[in-house]
Amino acid sequence: MNPLIPLFVIIPLTGAFLIMILSRFIRNFGRYFASLVLLLLVIISFYFLFSTGEKVTVYKAGGWEPVNGVPVGIYMVLDGFTTLVLCIINLIGFLSVFYSISYMSKYTSENYFYSLFCLMTAGMNGVVISGDLFNIFVFLEISAISSYALVAFGVEKNELEATFKYQVLGGIASFIILFGIGFIYWKAKTLNIADIRVVFSSGYDKSYYLLVQILLLTGFGLKAAIIPFHAWLPDAHSSAPSPISAMLSGVLIKAVGIYVIIRLFFNMFAISQGMSVLITSLGALSMVIGVFLAIGQWDIKRLLAYHSISQMGYVVLSVGIGMMMISKGIRNEVAALAITGGIFHLINHAAFKGLLFLNAGAIEYATGTRDLHEMGGLGKHMPATAATSFTASMAISGIPPFNGFFSKLIIIIAAIMAKYYLLAALAVIVSIITLASFLKFQRYAFFNKTDDGNDRKIKEVPFPMLFSMIVLSIICLLLSMLALPGVRETILTPATDILMDPSKYPSQITGI
């Protein structure tokens, strides 16, 4: 029982509240206080990253102890996987909010922005640490409602249209999830993830179990924008203000989508062959179709948004390969490798996609356009933006010294070792097409000469934006260290272990 765990929800919620109250009296209170709040969260989450290790820590809200081994009350669970996701949420959140200090100054009612930002962070942190299904739903709605508002923050035609689509599809997703939760409660009479595992381990009705799995996969798949459910993502992510796009693409679809899918299908449901085939094929589909939709785009942020779908496909694919290996019961080391690759790619994607959206925001800030046709020669005027976006582009297309290369390599090796040669080949081909599409971005934005010469007055963006971009590009380089033996064992292995071992998660939670 660690009293620090609920701070991940309490601090940003208090921050959101205080910003709304105090910003009426103090000028520019919101921007600095929100940065402070997120910085505090970064420090706490890194403290947990290095102190948690293999342990599973549980916080029981209100001190309700289990009755006859059955957990009652609200549980907050912190394990290796959770701390990793918390670190990326809060780190990207801090850098985005710091970036917003200059980026958002052209908007009115900035304080609402910072307040909503804190609320969204609270929601995502809550989804990640909560140990029962209904709290996942509540926190998911908190983050969803604030992200609807943030997508519409510009209140122009495009923003409103995008947020309407996002809200309708997000609403349907929420109700499907709630339906699934209702079905689980109907039979299991409990909502605690660990306890549901225990209840279902003593036998269940096959078709009922399948229905619940499909409902939850559909709901969280809509939130994660896996391919058949992706329609809202390119609109919402490209219309939002850039720091919010970085948050949505970099963190939100992972925290409320992919993370929950992984958590539920490894730690709550027993892994079955059928579901693992379904998840793998969904991953492969989003990987391939996402990149083909991306390559024809000329709007930078739409291009990046479609790449998010494709890169999330990699994560889902490799996690699916891991599930497939576990369900066959053979070669567990391959399964562990595949899951490690998936989690590693999830972290990497947060870093480089966050950075790319911040770059796109910087370009939009300096030139006032998002259309690749209208840019060109920006490399001379904005050297820092050009350098950082080059880093990110190389990272996302998997060029060696950067982090994307190592995670894609692990995924491809795992696919080959699992004897899915077709999937491995697809992963390589998609990676090459990604490279092509990012070379197009680099060429048209930074290298190509424009006709009107240098008479346009384009300046490098101000310091807070530069700081965030440079820090993220350094993180892109540093994250490749996670692949090294020694570092991997302390950070990635605990996350894989908690997912691999079917009995560890429930026994640690219900047994306390």
Partner: protein, 112 residues
């Protein structure tokens, strides 16, 4: 069994409305229909045959109570639903001011 099936029918009605209606407000109403069918289902899962309201009466310990937990869940979910409905209505009003129409066919700036 029939109440559960009716819940599901209500859910599908809402989904049909969301897919086929062209008026933004009607889409929002259909979403609410879906929402409330889900709440109804959640409340039904706590029903116990012959149960009474879960207020413990020490004088009569053999009384059968309905499950109170789904009721608490539904109350929470209704509050969340209120927030989403308010949010979507606010967006619809803003859309009407910008586009001058509620017709979803006229609102197609974003594509590709």
């Amino acid at each position: 069994m029939i109440p559960y099936l009716m819940c599901f029918a209500l859910f599908l009605t809402g989904l049909y409305g969301v897919i086929t209606r062209r008026n933004l407000v009607k889409i929002a109403i259909s979403l609410s229909v879906m929402e409330f069918s889900t709440f109804l289902f959640l409340a039904l899962t706590g029903y116990v045959e012959g149960g009474v309201a879960p207020i413990v009466d020490p004088a009569d310990p053999v009384k059968v109570y309905v499950d109170p937990l789904p009721q608490a869940l539904v109350l929470t979910a209704i509050v969340i639903g209120l927030a989403t409905t308010a949010m979507i209505m606010a967006v619809i009003i803003r859309i009407y001011r910008k586009y001058g129409t509620f017709d979803i066919r006229e609102i197609k700036n974003l594509r590709g």
